[in-house]
Symmetry: C2
Subunit: 245 residues, 2 copies
């Protein structure tokens, strides 16, 4: 038996999220279907660094699985991709130690959120960036960022549905990039709660639109109450960019 | 009655091409459906600069239509986009002279063809660029370009199904751009025959892969026979980029 670590990229548009759900097309079920075919009907369980929601994309999701197959390491990517649908791809495979775990060994993650800042419709961006045509006060957004960076209890920035007990996370960096008509938020941290990046973005949009003051961020954190933060930004602008080990 | 000229952008992935066909989803039928709604059930015929095939994209297709509606010019784009599906968008509207014709007044067109030069699968490019992972001799392709530029009978580079009589067209420029892992062909000319850009690209790929010599291009043109040129490159790498008037 050998453990493999794979980097996985997917267009989230036509997936009901990462995790297996009955009668839904999910990333995990497509990965496990491909592995089952490769293993002649044997079930192979896949473990990911974490879930992604319906519509959320991934450039660098990481998974691991165990296999008894003696496939040379360089052939795994081709073998798996030949069995996967074309909106889901393996973009890297390496042999891992038997103790490696995609979720528990993850030291941090990077997410990016793409906003398309235009009132002009672009059919090529409809699934890949959140179109937002209202004015945004970018300096106000930048003023808000330092209040969010660091170790905080992010209860206010977590879906109320979450069952995680400890909501303290460390956001190590938030960067705002402006590239032509795209505004890109880069978030890196040791872990992110359910919907956390989307609520951070929604809150920062609230700051940029003048609904929320930059200076109010510390209080929103202190309240530990989801209702004080901004809206949850749409899923289709979000990309799980990289997982760090 | 006022004639309107519109610039139209579409993701060709889910269209059976531009032109109306029975029981198929086409760009023209979606445009005419939207106009019919806006005109309370009145049929409004749309005329385009030319057809595009199933899977072919457009950044700058041009259409015209006539309307009795007194909608301010600045509101047309919003009104039409609110009635169009999100893979098809109006990106410009202007009032045109009564004699303007999107097809007959077109002086030239620009097409671009995107090739993704990698053996690594990319789920985000699957519908938007032709993945080609084999080696290509770029200098050989560049050597072939001057033979294709200029006024020629392009019968060899036209689908044998075409019913057009006069197959003489003038290609004013072919440019090859390399941007990271993308190879982009830019074609400008006074008109392009059915499948012509895709056969030009397929032939240039034949030159780059060593199947066709650069020096053979003049003979391929002279033969006036489709079987002498290369394959028809896949539709999903092709974009109607701009129409010149």
């Amino acid at each position: 038996m050998q453990r493999y670590k794979c980097i996985v990229s997917y267009d989230g548009t036509q997936f009901a999220g990462y995790q297996v759900q009955p009668n839904k097309r999910t990333v995990q079920s497509e990965l496990e279907n491909a592995l089952r075919k490769l293993h002649k009907g044997l079930d192979v369980k896949v473990f990911a660094s974490g879930r992604t929601d319906a519509g959320v994309h991934a450039r660098g999701q990481v998974i691991h699985f165990d296999s008894p197959l003696r496939i040379p390491i360089a052939k795994w990517e081709i073998a798996l991709n030949s069995l996967l649908p074309n909106d889901l791809a393996i973009v890297g495979v390496e042999a891992a130690d038997a103790g490696f775990h995609a979720r528990f060994d993850a030291k941090g993650k990077e997410y990016r959120y793409f906003m398309y800042r235009s009132s002009r419709r672009d059919p090529f961006k409809r699934h890949y960036a959140y179109q937002y045509s209202h004015p945004l006060n970018i300096p106000a957004i930048k003023d808000a960022l330092p209040f969010l960076v660091g170790e905080h209890d992010f209860t206010s920035f977590c879906s109320a549905k979450s069952e995680v007990e400890d909501k303290v996370r460390k956001v190590s960096e938030i960067e705002l990039l402006e590239e032509e008509d795209m505004l890109i938020f880069r978030f890196t941290g040791n872990g992110f709660l359910y919907n956390m990046v989307r609520i951070l973005v929604g809150t920062l949009i609230g700051v940029g639109s003048g609904d929320i003051s930059s200076q109010a961020i510390p209080e929103i954190l202190e309240r530990k109450d989801r209702t004080y933060a901004g809206k949850t930004a749409p899923a289709h602008g979000l990309y799980l960019w990289e997982v760090h080990y």
